[in-house]
């Protein structure tokens, strides 16, 4: 699998996914197992202490019983206790009388240090147990307060406990280490396995090329975690495909739009050159060619302009443009052609200004106004209405004329789109005017739409057509001028 190109800035590459997962798993497993092991040890130790306390209590009571048994002579006490204690292995006792003199003790261990370490208690509980080292041995014991000032110290050797606990600790940590190793291995395998669908995805994605933009990834065939990624990816391809097909349609349109006038030029010139003609005829040919060539040049420069806006190569020089003076200036420009068909030009709206590139805005409004006048009925009014409503600034250009069918409305702003195909090659414009308007409005952060509704008061098929430019007020700071 090829690695993606390293980013140019020396930013360290983030940790691999497997390493991240394994670090987390290892930390969690260690923490859990450590807690468990500690708990287990503590619990076993507590259990031993309880057992020992019970046993020592029993031994102390046996000693007390023996001492108080009227049937036994003091000489017999030792032998009798020896018998009693055979059941309790390695348990020792030492009895002090009221004057703290040892009266009786078991063989094998000297418990006198115990008297320095603890106080007598009436009942031996695990908390009373004291352990100490003596010679090579470790003992644990307590002192029971008997009647008549008797103190009975009892203790037992605890090597076998310690030995067991030592063994347990080793076993536990070894087990934990083995478990961690196993779990890490499993996690690593899991991550590898988990990333397999990504590899599959990546090889699927490599199938998609500009010729195969119709291919889509199947969100149902990837693990649920990747479904969203697949959907986003599909969305991206969808957008690309749309952009691509628009682009290729556009290229086809360009070819078509350029081919027609070019073939006119060529045919006309060839026909004219096919035999000798008068000077007047040659002049006529050159004029006709000139007109066609100028149209071509205009189309090329318009397309270039559009291509530049598409690529963000046009830099805006925004300033606060007062709308009313701008529109009045445009009205002055268009008054002659409006007058010809007795069309009135009217402005309505508050005195507001819009932050925009003045020449661009002028160009956009000029295209719309020229369109509106061209398609308006004679003796009607073309309006420019400016509104600020619901957080938006709206510039609405309205004419009364033939209604535009709803299916044409959304496509009006496409390049070379003509609602009326018979108007192909109309002397005015190449079908780029509205596309340019849209580019300008979009460049300024606004949007454009068109609405056309029949009006019963007008002749059939005629009504009001509005081109509406909208800017959100929060994005475009507006100054109320008066």
């Amino acid at each position: 699998m090829p690695t993606p190109a390293e980013p140019s800035q020396p930013q360290p590459r983030p940790l691999s996914l497997a390493t991240r997962v394994m670090l987390f798993v290892a930390a969690a497993v260690l923490l859990c197992a450590g807690l468990l092991a500690t708990m287990l040890q503590n619990s076993i130790e507590a259990h031993f202490a309880e057992q020992d306390a019970g046993e020592l209590q029993a031994v102390a009571h046996s000693v007390l019983h023996t001492l108080q048994d009227p049937a036994l002579q003091p000489q017999q006490h030792h032998a009798s206790l020896h018998q009693v204690l055979t059941g309790h292995h390695q348990t020792y006792y030492l009895v002090l009388d009221a004057t703290e003199k040892p009266t009786l003790s078991a063989d094998g261990a000297d418990l006198t240090p115990l008297f320095r370490l603890t106080r007598p208690v009436s009942q031996i509980t695990p908390a009373d147990l004291i352990s100490w080292d003596q010679g090579a041995h470790t003992y644990r014991g307590a002192i029971l307060q008997g009647p008549r000032g008797l103190q009975i110290a009892v203790a037992m050797e605890m090597e076998f406990h310690l030995h067991y606990l030592h063994l347990l600790r080793w076993t536990l940590w070894l087990t934990i280490a083995a478990a961690v190793a196993l779990i890490l291995l499993a996690a690593w395998l899991g991550v590898r396995q988990g990333l397999l669908p990504l590899r599959q995805l990546s090889s699927d994605i490599r199938q998609i090329s500009t010729e195969k933009l119709h291919l889509r990834l199947e969100p149902g065939q990837v693990p649920v975690e990747l479904a969203e990624l697949v959907q986003s990816f599909n969305q991206m391809i969808e957008n690309l495909q749309q952009g691509f097909s628009r682009l290729s349609e556009f290229s086809a349109d360009i070819a078509h739009e350029l081919r027609t006038p070019l073939s006119n030029l060529i045919t006309q010139t060839q026909v004219s050159l096919s035999k000798d003609r008068s000077l007047e005829e040659y002049r006529e040919l050159l004029y006709s060619n000139l007109e066609e060539q100028e149209r071509l040049a205009k189309m090329v420069s318009d397309m270039l302009w559009l291509a530049k806006t598409d690529h963000g190569l046009i830099k805006l020089q925004p300033e606060a443009v007062a709308l009313e003076p701008l529109c009045r200036q445009l009205f002055e420009f268009f008054e002659f052609i409006a007058d010809e068909r007795n069309i009135r030009l009217q402005y309505q709206g508050p005195a507001v200004s819009l932050r925009a590139d003045k020449v661009m805005l002028q160009r956009a409004l000029s295209n719309l106004l020229s369109n509106a006048i061209r398609h308006a009925d004679a003796d009607s009014t073309v309006w420019i209405r400016v509104n600020t409503l619901a957080g938006h600034l709206e510039i609405c250009i309205r004419n009364c004329g033939p209604v535009i069918a709803p299916e044409h409305l959304p496509r009006l702003f496409e390049r070379f789109y003509r609602a009326d195909p018979s108007r192909q090659r109309h002397s005015e414009g190449a079908g780029l005017g509205l596309a340019m308007v849209q580019s300008i409005v979009t460049l300024h952060g606004g949007e454009i739409s068109a609405v056309s509704v029949p009006d019963a008061a007008q002749s059939p098929g005629h009504g009001n057509t509005d081109f509406i430019l909208r800017w959100p007020l929060d994005k475009r700071p507006l100054n109320q001028l008066s």
């Binding site: 205009k298 420069s301 200036q329 002659f336 052609i337 002028q362 000029s366 002397s427 414009g429």
Partner: protein, 229 residues
């Protein structure tokens, strides 16, 4: 009028030379930047037309060299590039105007004449006259053969422009820019309609027609020679 044209594209260069010669100029054509640079620095011209993209020494460098040497010959740049930056750079370096290819020759001619006129600093005449057409600018009065013409302000401005540049062919884009301050190519036929209206007021019912359409190029105001027409 001596004119220097620096243009490496063969066909463009030839047609520019022919066009300017026929328009009454005396153009020198230079096909590379090095010669252009040398000529611009050593000889006197009234106007220099420079292609920006030359293979050896580019046009911007020639402008820079000229201005650094304190030579103030007006310079008009021709370029296939059209971004605000290019334009601004060219003008900042000291060029006087900037025209983007493809351009119409009459547009270039009109701009060249504007640049040449700028140097003359002639006081703007208040009274303009062509044949029996008289314009009194400050009084805002126009008359033909002593008869007052009723003109709207824009018609008056249009007539003034045509009269001030009598005999020159004015392209539509120049008229739109000068009269209406519309500085972009508009698809409309506003200029044609406006000239038609003006003509109906100025030339209708007159034997001597003053406003002429130059097909494919624009309009001009001219008193026809007695022997022509």
């Amino acid at each position: 009028m001596r004119l220097l044209i620096v243009e490496d594209e063969v066909k463009t260069g030839d047609y520019l030379k022919q066009g300017f010669t026929e328009a009454g100029f005396n153009p020198t054509l230079c096909r590379n930047g090095l010669d252009g640079h040398h000529l611009a620095m050593t000889e006197e011209f009234e106007l220099i037309i420079l292609d920006v993209m030359l293979p050896d020494v580019d046009g911007l460098r020639i402008v820079k060299a000229l201005r650094q040497a304190n030579r103030h010959t007006p310079v008009l740049l021709l370029s296939a590039l059209d971004t605000v930056d290019d334009r601004v750079r060219g003008l900042e370096l000291g060029a006087d105007d900037y025209l983007v290819k493809p351009f119409a020759f009459n547009e270039l001619l009109a701009r060249a004449r504007t640049l040449l006129r700028r140097g003359q600093l002639a006081p703007q005449a208040d009274r303009l006259q062509a044949a029996d057409l008289v314009l009194e600018i400050s009084k805002h009065k126009a008359s033909r053969g002593g008869k007052k013409l009723n003109l709207t302000p824009k018609e008056f401005a249009l007539l003034e422009l045509l009269l001030r540049r009598e005999g020159e062919v004015l392209p539509r884009s120049l008229i739109a820019s000068q009269v209406w301050d519309m500085n972009f190519d508009s698809d409309t036929n506003v200029i044609d309609v406006a000239v038609r209206r003006l003509r109906s007021k100025v030339d209708d019912d007159q034997a001597l027609k003053l406003i002429h359409t130059v097909r494919g190029m624009g309009y001009k105001l001219e008193v026809p020679d007695a022997d022509a027409s």
